[in-house]
């Protein structure tokens, strides 16, 4: 089966279009998604084809998420767009106290079949309130599903899986990758949620990453190869449900694990990955390092933001240094 070359944002658009065609109970709403075609174009042309199931809402994130939940437990399949992940914080009560509790407290009698689409991360010039990577906050909350597509093909496949799922799924897209293109197979069967993937093979160092950072790690990989370090790159894709099996089997071979994410290092999901691998393999079995945004706010000036973000150059530098210190330590493996 051959694919179609699509940009990330166009792949999202195709997945939404598929959902509205496949499910008469599907509804798409958010700020500027209907008449203006979406702030980034994700919902382009959908209102024209599917009104009244595609509509604009006021700038009211709490009301939007609550509406999605109330409609979901009344038999609909809402897909709500939160323009920036930073704006999820405005709706935290509805996400954590309401959406995450619905199925559990009702003992499965309420089905929160909804998808929250958002995008996150820094792009040159984006301010501190439009640049955060917040997936760990939500991966911490039982009852929510969390995924971060790393390219156009994944955006299409993972968004369809999210929409088809009966669980409330938060899809963190990558604004920086929206224009990037990949082969997308539009007529593949819908996947179940979950599952990580080995996206590049190597024998020296296992690198777990997700979302935007996968592209950055793949950019850094040849730089590391130049230093004789072969990286096995694993795209975790879903933080909930989390599939660590490929990471565990890779670390069993390499004895070295790096987790790279754009979120701040402290309390990032990398800490969870590292802890779980240590719990499973034993802390003396491997050496590990986390690379993330420095523990600071994200400044708007591109010059300043480059100094705190995990750019491919910084990833390569930190991983090379880690490999050197791990060799020197030699206590591992």
């Amino acid at each position: 089966m051959s694919g179609t070359e699509l940009s990330y944002i166009r792949a999202v658009n195709e997945a939404l279009s598929w959902a509205l065609e496949s499910y008469p109970e599907a509804v798409v709403f958010g700020e500027d998604v209907a008449l203006p075609n979406g702030p980034f174009g994700a919902t382009k042309g959908l209102q024209e084809r599917f009104a009244p199931r595609v509509f604009d809402t006021p700038i009211s994130e709490s009301a939007m998420i609550g509406t999605a939940l109330g409609a979901a437990v009344s038999g609909m399949r809402p897909i709500v767009e939160i323009m920036y992940a930073d704006f999820l914080l405005v709706a935290m009560d509805q996400i954590v106290n309401q959406v995450a509790n619905a199925r559990y407290v009702s003992r499965g009698r309420l089905v929160p079949r909804l998808t929250i689409r958002t995008q996150q991360g820094a792009t040159p010039g984006s301010c501190a309130q439009h640049s955060q990577s917040l997936e760990a906050l939500f991966a911490h909350v039982p009852g929510l599903r969390v995924c971060l597509p790393s390219n156009a093909a994944e955006a299409y496949a993972m968004l369809r899986a999210a929409i088809a799922s009966d669980d409330p799924v938060m899809v963190f897209e990558s604004r920086r990758l929206y224009p990037t293109k990949a082969e997308v197979r539009l007529d593949e069967p819908v996947e179940a949620i979950g599952g990580s993937k080995v996206v590049a093979q190597g024998d020296d160092l296992t690198v777990a990453c997700w979302g935007t950072t996968v592209a950055d790690v793949l950019t850094a990989r040849p730089l590391l190869e130049g230093d004789g370090i072969g990286c096995e790159v694993i795209d975790l894709r879903w933080l909930s449900p989390l599939d660590l099996d490929p990471v565990l089997s890779s670390v069993e071979r390499t004895g070295r694990l790096a987790v790279v994410h754009e979120a701040n290092r402290t309390g990032g999901f990398g800490a969870e990955v590292m802890a779980r691998v240590a719990e499973t393999l034993g802390p003396s079995f491997f050496a590990g390092v986390r690379v993330g945004t420095l523990d600071t706010r994200v400044p708007a000036s591109p010059l300043l933001s480059r100094a705190v973000l995990p750019t491919p150059e910084r990833i390569a530098g930190e991983l090379t240094a880690f490999m050197k210190s791990a060799e020197a330590g030699a206590g591992h493996r």
Binding site: E25, V27, P52, R53, F55, T57, P58, S60, S62, A63, M64, I65, G66, T67, A68, L69, G70, A71, A72, V73, S74, G75, M76, P78, D93, Q94, N97, Q98, N101, R103, Y104, V105, S106, R107, G108, R109, L110, V111, P142, G143, R145, S165, D166, D167, A192, I193, G194, P241
Partner: protein, 305 residues
């Protein structure tokens, strides 16, 4: 109303005896609002309430035995003990649940209204949500009133003004009464005597008809008085002396009795409710407790992989 009152009086006894652990937020004095409203709402309508929502659940026909079992932490047919007094739900009765976050039920009701608008059944349907006077100062309520108005959603908001926002007098915290604030969102706001079930039923009927006809939300502010504390352990030292005594003279059950004094005696009804509630409590006591192995279940759908 007598059923709701007697049910909650039993809860007070269970709390005192230690059979009910924790606390309960009772609606004693406010029964006319859920009872009057639910006498008009249809089975196809959705109802969302607050942690002070036992009256709404019972008025929606949720069996007393299940209510008692749920609140006593037993394996009830409602939430299997996961909701308790303040967060119980009964979707089978069109009761989407109590909510323990002030004001947070309104966005949920908005979605229930949206679903009823976009996927209409054979009968017109609306979503009704009850909040307190204190919730009128929560941002999500105002987001929702505006959004319900611009999206023309069939939403009925009851503001039960019971005089207190938790433990602080409501009028000290409220710049403009709730029913007047409705105008700010281009929706109809009405005020009704919340201690008169007939007045509440009539106002609900008019509001529901207007919502169905015009496709716009309506807000009803029902004036009442909470005759108990914010929660069961509340000592209510904040109340001025004489306030409760005066409020008890206007409570809805006694008032209704006076109104129908020359009709059939309420004594027979009282005795039958007394027996019904006692029987339900006994039956609830034989509902088993949930197994602790169930505590982690129903977090997600089962995914076959």
């Amino acid at each position: 109303m007598v059923r709701v009152r007697r049910f909650e009086e039993q809860l007070l006894g269970l709390l005192k005896a230690g059979e009910l652990v924790g606390s309960a937020h009772l609606c004693i004095g406010q029964e006319a609002i859920p009872v009057g409203a639910c006498s008009v709402l249809g089975a196809q309508d959705a109802v969302v309430a607050t942690y002070r929502g036992h009256g709404w659940a019972i008025a929606r026909g949720v069996p007393l035995v299940e209510m008692f079992a749920e609140i006593l932490g037993r394996d009830s047919a409602l939430c299997g003990g996961r909701g308790g007094s303040a967060h119980l739900m009964a979707p089978a009765n069109g009761f989407l649940g109590e909510n323990s976050i002030v004001g947070a039920g309104v966005p949920l009701a908005l979605g229930a209204a949206l679903a009823r608008k976009l996927r209409p059944g054979p009968e017109p349907a609306i979503a009704a949500v009850s909040i307190g006077d204190g919730a009128m100062n929560q941002g999500n309520v105002h987001e929702s009133l505006n959004m319900a108005s611009v999206l023309e959603l069939p939403l009925l908001v009851f503001v039960e003004n019971n005089g207190y926002a938790e433990m602080t007098p409501a009028d000290a915290l409220t710049a403009v009464p709730a029913h007047e604030r409705a105008a700010a969102y281009g929706i109809e706001g009405v005020v009704v005597d919340g201690n008169d079930p007939v007045a509440v039923a009539e106002a609900t009927g008019r509001a529901r008809a207007a919502i169905v006809e015009r496709g716009l939300p309506v807000l009803i502010e029902a004036m009442t008085h909470r005759l108990v504390g914010h929660y069961s352990g509340d000592l209510q030292a904040y109340r001025p002396s004489g306030e409760l005594e005066a409020a008890w003279r206007k409570e809805p059950i006694g008032r209704l009795e006076l109104r129908i004094a020359d009709g059939p005696s309420l004594e027979a009804a009282r005795a039958s409710v007394e027996a019904e509630v006692a029987t339900a409590l006994e039956a609830a006591r034989s509902v088993p407790f949930p197994g602790s192995e169930d505590a982690g279940g129903h977090l997600y759908e089962l995914v076959a992989r």
